[in-house]
C-alpha cells in the first residue's frame, strides 16, 4: 500500500456512481488547496517564511506553490514583519488591489500588534488598516506556526460561503475599514 494521503471529500450524499454536495463546499475545498499567497515580508518573519517555503517545511504541499507577487491573482495576503506607519498606505493599497475572495494572515508579533516596537513610527497591528483573518503568534514564529496559521486559513476557506463578499457581516466589516 502506498502511504499517499488524499484529502477527504466534503460531507455529501454518496450513492453508487454519484456524489452530491453543495457547490460552496466543493468550491471551498478547491480554493483551500490552491491558495496563492502574496508574501508581504518586511523583516525577520519574512526570513522564517522563506524557511517555510523551503524543501524541509514545504508550504507547497498545501497547494501554495505559486507565490503571487502581483496582488491581482493572489488569494491570501501574508503580512510578515514590522509595518511602519509610512508603509501602511502601501500595504492598504496592496490589499485593495487584491480581488475577492481574499484572506489576510498577520504573521508574528509585529504584524499582529506592533510587537516590541511600541513606538511613534510603527503601526500597532495591521488590523488598524485592513481586516485580518488569522493571527500567528511568535517573535518570530517557527515555520510550524506559519503552517498552522495557513491551515487555519484553509479551514476558513472550506467553511465559508462561496461568495463571502455578499455576506452582510463581511460587508459591515469592510465598511468599518472604509473599503468600498
Amino acid at each position: 500500500m502506498s502511504d499517499i494521503q488524499i484529502v477527504e471529500a466534503p460531507p455529501g450524499i454518496e450513492g453508487s456512481g454519484f456524489f452530491a454536495t453543495s457547490l460552496d463546499k466543493a468550491v471551498g475545498m478547491a480554493r483551500s488547496y490552491s491558495l496563492w499567497p502574496l508574501p508581504f515580508a518586511t523583516s525577520c518573519c519574512g526570513i522564517e517564511f522563506m524557511a517555510t517555503m523551503g524543501s524541509h517545511y514545504d508550504l507547497s504541499r498545501f497547494g501554495a506553490e505559486r507565490l503571487s507577487f502581483s496582488p491581482r491573482q493572489a488569494d491570501l495576503l501574508m503580512v510578515m514583519g514590522t509595518i511602519a506607519k509610512k508603509m501602511a498606505p502601501v500595504l492598504r493599497q496592496v490589499y485593495l488591489q487584491m480581488a475577492e475572495p481574499r484572506w489576510v494572515m498577520a504573521v508574528g508579533a509585529c504584524a499582529s500588534s506592533g510587537g516590541i516596537f511600541d513606538t511613534y513610527s510603527v503601526l500597532q497591528g495591521i488590523d488598524e488598516i485592513i481586516p485580518v483573518d488569522v493571527y500567528v503568534p511568535g517573535c518570530p514564529p517557527r515555520p510550524e506556526a506559519i503552517i498552522d496559521g495557513f491551515m487555519n486559513i484553509q479551514k476558513l476557506v472550506q467553511t465559508e460561503s462561496g461568495r463571502r463578499r455578499e455576506d452582510p457581516k463581511y460587508q459591515e466589516l469592510l465598511a468599518k475599514y472604509g473599503i468600498q
Partner: protein, 165 residues
Amino acid sequence: MSKLSAEDLLQKLTSKFEGALNNITQPYGLLTLETSREQLLEVLGYLKAELQFIHLTDITAIHYPELEKPFAVVYHVHSLVNGIRVRLKVFLAAADVHIPTASNLWEGANWMERETYDFFGIIFDGHPDLRRILNVDDMTVFPMRKEFPLEDPNRIDKKDYFFGR
C-alpha cells in the same frame, strides 16, 4: 600621517576667527569648537575652502532640556586631504531654532538637514527643500526632542512572555 595637527588647525582657526570660537575642547583627540549662528557659515566656508575639509560627515542635533539654549546643532567635518576631523557646535534657544543652511557648501548637507528638521524641528534657513525625510509627512511632533513622557513602567501588555520570548 596627519599633515595638519589639531594644534596647527586650532591655531589657524583662532587667528582667523578671534573670539568667535569658544569652549574649545579635545575629547579623545577630536577637536571640538562652539561657535555662534552668525559665524557658522564663515567658519564652515573657511574650513572647506582654505583647509580642504571637503567631506561633511554629519549634521545632527542634541536636545539638552535643562540648558538655557537647549538645542545644539552639531557639524562633523573631515579633511580627507589633511587626515583630520573637526566638530562644530551651535547652541540655539528653544524659541528661535533657525540656523543658516550648509547645503550651499556641501550638497550632502541637504538630506542631513532634512533629517535634523524631521527629528528635532531645527529650521535651516535657505534650505532648498525642507520637508520631513524619514517620518510620515503628516506628523506634527519632533520625536527626538526630550519633551515626551516616558512609558508607564507598570504596563504589562507588551511583556516578553506574551511574545513567546
